[in-house]
């Protein structure tokens, strides 16, 4: 059941109604049932994977919790000379529990998501070595939301390990968090300590929240149906047959893809956050106007923010603060001075972060290259920071001036879009072929012929998507300048109603059938 389908709107309406009709103490049970129903509309048999991830993380967290408590008791009773030993033993036991539970949770996700990739690479090696025969390559379908709930379960387990919050004793409650339908398909990556607390609080119905949440849902639908969906035709037409087009057209299609992905993914987030807001539940935000980023590093602090937080907390910190990271830091400090000592353990950790980020997005070498391109630019920017400061200083560039900021934003957008040559292409060969063709057959003269760009779109679609992009840009600028909330409050009711009616009309004109739109792009990851 897609978030933009009529069926989902009825489902959301029924969930909200039942949620506020039910006694407050049991409101979360309505969510539990809604989650199950929502999941069952896709593939009910895949529920078994979700249930397994839930049961393993729930049980392991309880065991860790028990270990934490018994260690605290032992520490209280231990003499000063024994405290270190008690701590070490506790840590050892906890590590053992985590070392069993985490691979167990990850195993089915890894096998289903990466099995084919792994076997196809073995087959390629077999082919190179000249050995006859090939291993059969599986065609498994990744269960809905598996890349998200697997990470939710691991985050929960590690947080309990780190004593951030106690383990949840009620499995149904924990499962309600894990299967929470607004964050099931595309995130955000939520933390049990925050979202769990918000889900299990008692909520009163609020007309203010209903109004605000509904407006955000409408805005999300608008972004998805009026902007993202029509742009798909241009992207697929040009990139699907790149040899027939000039480099300037291909680059344009990649820019369009970037805008489309933003409208699609942030549109989903608006619907998920808006619906949660109506229920009184706070869902973490995933976007902070990413196209205003002036560096690639900043872009990743604005795009898919909760994924970045996940990798920071569960990959970056452990890798940089672990024994290897700290040793590397000391070694670099003694060899190259304090600056490198400071940076090297971070760079070391970023290798793990970007390998994982690349592979999380897809089981393909293209995603690994995409991840390493991001890593290369981020590390280069940090490493050359002092040189960059000197050059801009010598050239008397005012880094706070608007033209320079705009230049930096465009540069970042261009870099991110070029990286997308790899995340879009089905294979490395195709990615390099498209990139090569773009550079070698650029055909800038085509810029004088605007009709050669928005290929595959109807005139009405171009006009409406164009108006939608403009509206999205204005909203983003106002939000970036922190003027959006004040402005929204000042808009009179009549004008607000008129804007909503226009949005609704545009959505209705763009809708093609009961499903209303195409599937969300990030659901494929």
């Amino acid at each position: 059941m897609a978030f933009t389908s009529l069926g989902f709107l009825f489902f959301a309406l029924a969930t909200v109604t039942l949620y506020f009709v039910f006694p407050k103490k049991w409101q979360w049970l309505v969510l539990f049932a809604a989650n199950l129903y929502f999941y069952s509309t896709y593939e009910i048999r895949f529920l078994v994977f979700l249930l397994a991830a839930g049961l393993i993380s729930y049980a392991a967290a309880l065991i860790l919790e028990k270990q934490n408590r018994s260690s605290e008791l032992a520490l209280k009773n231990a003499g000063a000379e024994d405290k270190d030993r008690v701590r070490r033993e506790n840590l050892k036991r906890k590590k053992r529990i985590a070392a069993i539970a985490i691979p167990l949770i990850l195993s089915s996700w890894i096998v289903i998501k990466y099995g084919r990739f792994f076997i196809s690479n073995i087959n390629a090696l077999i082919g190179i070595s000249g050995t006859p025969g090939k291993l059969p390559e599986p065609e498994w379908i990744l269960p809905l939301g598996m890349s998200f709930y697997t990470f939710h379960a691991i985050a929960y387990l590690i947080d309990v390990y780190r004593k951030k919050y106690p383990a949840e004793r009620n499995f149904l409650k924990y499962f309600t968090f894990l299967s929470f339908f607004p964050h099931m398909i595309q995130g955000p990556f939520s933390r049990f300590g925050e979202l769990g607390k918000s889900i299990f609080e008692e909520h009163r119905f609020s007309t203010d929240r209903l109004r605000e949440g509904s407006a955000r849902i409408l805005w999300g639908m608008f972004k998805k149906i009026v902007i993202a969906d029509p742009l798909a035709a241009t992207v697929s037409t040009i990139l699907g047959d790149h040899q027939a087009y000039g480099g300037v057209q291909i680059l344009f299609a990649v820019f369009v893809y970037s805008v489309r992905l933003y409208a699609d993914f942030s549109g989903y987030m608006d619907i998920a956050c808006g619906l949660s807001h109506i229920l009184g539940i706070r869902l973490a935000e995933n976007f902070r106007r990413p196209f205003f980023a002036k560096t690639v590093d900043e872009y990743w602090r604005r795009w898919h923010v909760t994924l970045g937080f996940w990798f920071r907390d569960y990959v970056f910190y452990p890798a940089s603060m672990g024994k290897a990271g700290m040793k590397l830091s000391k070694w670099a400090r003694s060899k190259w001075g304090p600056r490198m000592g400071k940076l090297i353990s971070g760079y070391f950790a970023l290798i793990f972060v970007w390998t994982a980020t690349g592979l999380w997005h897809g089981a393909n070498w293209t995603y690994l290259v995409w991840g390493y391109l991001n890593l290369f630019v981020i590390v280069s920017t940090m490493q050359l920071g002092e040189v960059y400061d000197k050059i801009t200083g010598k050239l008397h560039i005012r880094r706070e001036s608007l033209p320079w900021k705009l230049f930096c934003m465009l540069r970042t957008f261009l870099l991110i879009s070029v990286f997308r040559f790899f995340s879009i292409a089905p294979g490395l060969k195709e990615a390099f072929s498209t990139l090569g063709h773009t550079v070698l057959d650029f055909r800038p003269a085509l810029l004088l012929k605007p009709s050669g760009f928005l290929i595959g779109m109807y005139r009405e679609e171009i006009l409406m998507a164009g108006a939608g992009i403009l509206a999205m840009l204005v909203v983003d600028i106002l939000q970036e300048k922190e003027k959006w909330d004040a402005l929204k409050a000042k808009v009179p009711f009549g004008l607000r109603a008129f804007i909503y009616a226009c949005m609704l009309l545009m959505i209705t004109l763009m809708v093609k059938g009961a499903d209303m739109s195409q599937g969300f792009m990030y659901a494929n990851f």
Binding site: R162, Y317, M321, M326, K342, A349
Partner: protein
């Protein structure tokens, strides 16, 4: 406390650590700053700050970091 302030200023000279009270909450410190601070504090004070201690409330201000060090020193 003075030794800690020296370390913090060494990592981020642009921040007034005596005034700031939301270093993590307001994203004034980034993850590279945090690991630098942890590495230098561990070495200077002979403590071992680990993942369990990486909570915003322990790093939001110089005072909070100092309180964490004192707690770890027992």
């Amino acid at each position: 406390m003075n030794e800690l302030l020296e370390i913090l200023k060494g990592v981020r000279p642009d921040i007034d650590f005596e005034k700031e009270t939301a270093l993590i909450d307001n994203e004034i410190l980034d993850s590279f700053d945090v690991i630098s601070i942890v590495s230098e504090v561990n070495e200077a004070f002979g403590v071992e700050i680990n993942m369990e201690d990486l909570l915003p409330e322990n790093f939001n201000s110089a005072e909070a970091i100092y309180a964490l060090i004192l707690k770890m020193q027992g």
